[in-house]
């Protein structure tokens, strides 16, 4: 099923959850609202003509420019993107699903934005979501064990955030 067809079908069933799309991009993507993500993902995995049964990767991308002068030219408002790269082992096709989140929940710095987990749909997501939580600072609600995976458990902050400050000291080790 080609891009426009897929979008049409998705919109018929789950139109209220599809908030954007770009089928001309190098990797065509659709944008899904956070609350509709589990339902859309389940549909993408189970629908016989789609069968996106393989989750390749989850990445967190922080859109935030520290420099106010540069920020004016960027053309986007500060936000957080969680990008899901899907692959169908049956039809050998790929699809990108994006979820746009505020950088902080309720615009309150320190409160991590939330998105429902998909670890019950693809088990790959379990570790990948832990990694995105650890490095990019996104809370996956309903995740069976959301804890840091690459950084130590007592690490402060999320390093792949653009406004992350390297700690000066960690257990007696000089940071800078």
């Amino acid at each position: 099923m080609s891009g426009p067809n897929l979008i049409e079908r998705l919109k018929r069933g789950h139109g209220r959850y599809i908030s954007g799309q770009n089928l001309e991009a190098i990797d065509p993507w659709i944008e899904v609202t956070p609350e509709g993500l589990p339902e859309v993902c389940r549909y993408l995995r189970d629908e016989p003509e789609l069968r996106f049964d393989f989750l390749s990767c989850i990445s967190g991308v922080d859109y935030f420019e520290k420099d106010p002068k540069k920020a004016e030219k960027t053309g986007w408002k500060p936000h957080m993107e969680v990008v899901y790269h899907l692959w169908s082992t049956v039809h050998r096709r790929s699809l990108v699903v994006k979820v746009l989140l505020p950088r902080w929940k309720d615009d309150e710095p320190g409160q991590l934005p939330e998105v429902p987990t998909v670890s019950d749909i693809w088990s790959t997501a379990n570790w990948h979501e832990r990694e995105v939580y650890d490095l990019s600072g996104v809370r996956f609600t309903g995740h069976p064990g959301l804890r840091r995976i690459l950084c130590p458990e007592d690490w402060v902050g999320h390093p792949l955030r653009r406004d992350y400050e390297m700690p000066l000291e960690y257990h007696g080790i000089r940071g800078r």
Partner: protein
């Protein structure tokens, strides 16, 4: 397979208290600094929790501060046993974003180099797996041969482990004069060594007893956990990105004749002169994962031979690298390539400057290891190294 339910293993009066056992981070059979916390009851493991991150070097954060060509050396240090394949994965991703095609000669050069590195990587995988199971000599055989490949690489690019040879736009240099003859010479003398390795391990009855029927991974579970490479094909799933991947990757192998190494109807392709599958082995167990790797070595030899023929008749440039500070087009691209340990994915987001906004690496071993707790449940402690070793993980790639 020995499990809790096996009455031969558990005697009735030895049910003991549960005990937590730490395996690693400095355990000889965990392939780097991996820590496994085992919940055991006597000899039987009821739960395995892997702890990773000991080798985390913030590669993705560094990637946000360097141009793509400057990040190439950091990709070397991810899967340090297959640096060339990592270079290639990142280079192709950036080329996909820039819509750049490598000249024909450069394409064949990349096949030669990538497949040679696959051989070297699988040799370590094979040798180290032997070590995990307690036999030392296959390791020496494997490293003797790998050393010859490293010598060839050293001649081509000056480095033996972290090459940074394949880069955005092609390669940093052409192959030196006389290299192809040496490479062919190596392949000729290497072919009989594979039979020795099969005799040492594949058909060795002790090895078969240790690996066959252990750590069964079903195809559905392999897909669910995102397992790739020999781990996925060892479970009988017919997927290899060299054939099934995106056009910008598979075009590298256009016109090459090769068959995906996966079991169909009870036998593998190319099995005409290779040892038969032992009756104890079940599709999806440790033995099959190992066997797929061994057959892929043979497959890579054929591919290198074809590539040498094509490379020597191709004319034109081998592919000059792009400028170090070449501006990237605005946009994003994701590409997975078939590295020796599975599908290595790179994701680049660009805002139009020469430095990517985001550089992401999807590690194949990361996903392959995440299934370990399922494979180890109910196994004996002595089988844990056999199971984890059969996944052939490299911690540098998992922790990045």
């Amino acid at each position: 397979m020995a499990t809790v339910d096996d009455p031969r293993i558990i005697e009735f009066d030895v049910r003991t208290d549960e005990m937590l056992v730490n395996m690693g981070p400095q355990h000889p059979s965990t392939h780097g600094v991996l820590r496994l916390v085992l919940r055991t009851d006597g000899e039987v493991v009821s739960e395995v929790v892997p702890h990773i991150g000991y080798l985390h070097r913030c590669a993705e954060k560094i990637g946000e501060n360097l141009t793509p060509r400057q990040w190439i050396p950091y990709t070397d240090r991810m899967d340090y046993l297959a640096g060339m394949n990592m270079n290639l994965g990142w280079a192709l991703t950036v080329e996909k974003l820039m819509n750049l095609q490598v000249p024909e000669k450069g394409r064949h050069l990349r096949v030669i180099i990538a497949e040679m590195n696959r051989i070297a990587s699988h040799l370590v995988g094979m040798g180290a797996y032997g070590l995990d199971l307690g036999t030392f000599s296959p390791f020496l055989y494997a490293f003797r041969e790998r050393e010859k490949i490293l010598d060839l690489f050293e001649e081509a690019c000056g480095a033996r482990l972290t090459y940074s040879y394949l880069t955005v736009g092609g390669a940093t240099a052409d192959l030196p004069r006389g290299w192809l003859q040496k490479c062919e010479g190596f392949l000729d003398q290497f072919l009989p060594v594979i039979d020795e390795c099969h005799a040492l391990l594949t058909t060795n009855s002790i090895f078969v007893k240790r690996a066959a029927g252990i750590g069964y991974l079903s195809p559905a579970m392999a897909i669910d956990y995102g397992c790739t490479g020999p781990v996925l094909r060892g479970s009988g799933v017919d997927q290899d990105l060299r054939r099934d991947g995106e056009a910008c990757y598979t075009s590298m192998y256009d016109g090459y004749a090769f068959e995906i190494i996966v079991e169909k109807n009870g036998h593998y392709p190319q099995d005409h002169k290779y040892p038969a599958i032992p009756p104890e082995a079940v599709l999806g167990d440790c033995w099959h994962r190992f066997y797929v790797r061994m057959l892929e070595v043979r497959q890579s030899i054929d591919l290198v031979r074809q590539a040498i023929d094509r490379y020597s008749t191709a004319t034109g440039s081998y592919g000059e690298p792009v400028k170090l500070t070449e501006k990237l087009p605005k946009g994003e691209a994701y590409l997975e390539t078939e590295a020796p340990r599975g599908q290595m994915g790179f994701y680049i987001v660009s805002d139009g400057s020469s430095i990517p906004w985001r550089a992401r690496a999807r590690s194949s071993c990361f996903c392959n290891l995440s299934v370990a707790h399922e494979l180890c449940r109910g196994a004996l402690i002595a089988d844990i190294p056999a199971i984890v070793g059969s996944l052939d993980i490299v911690m540098g790639e998992i922790d990045r």
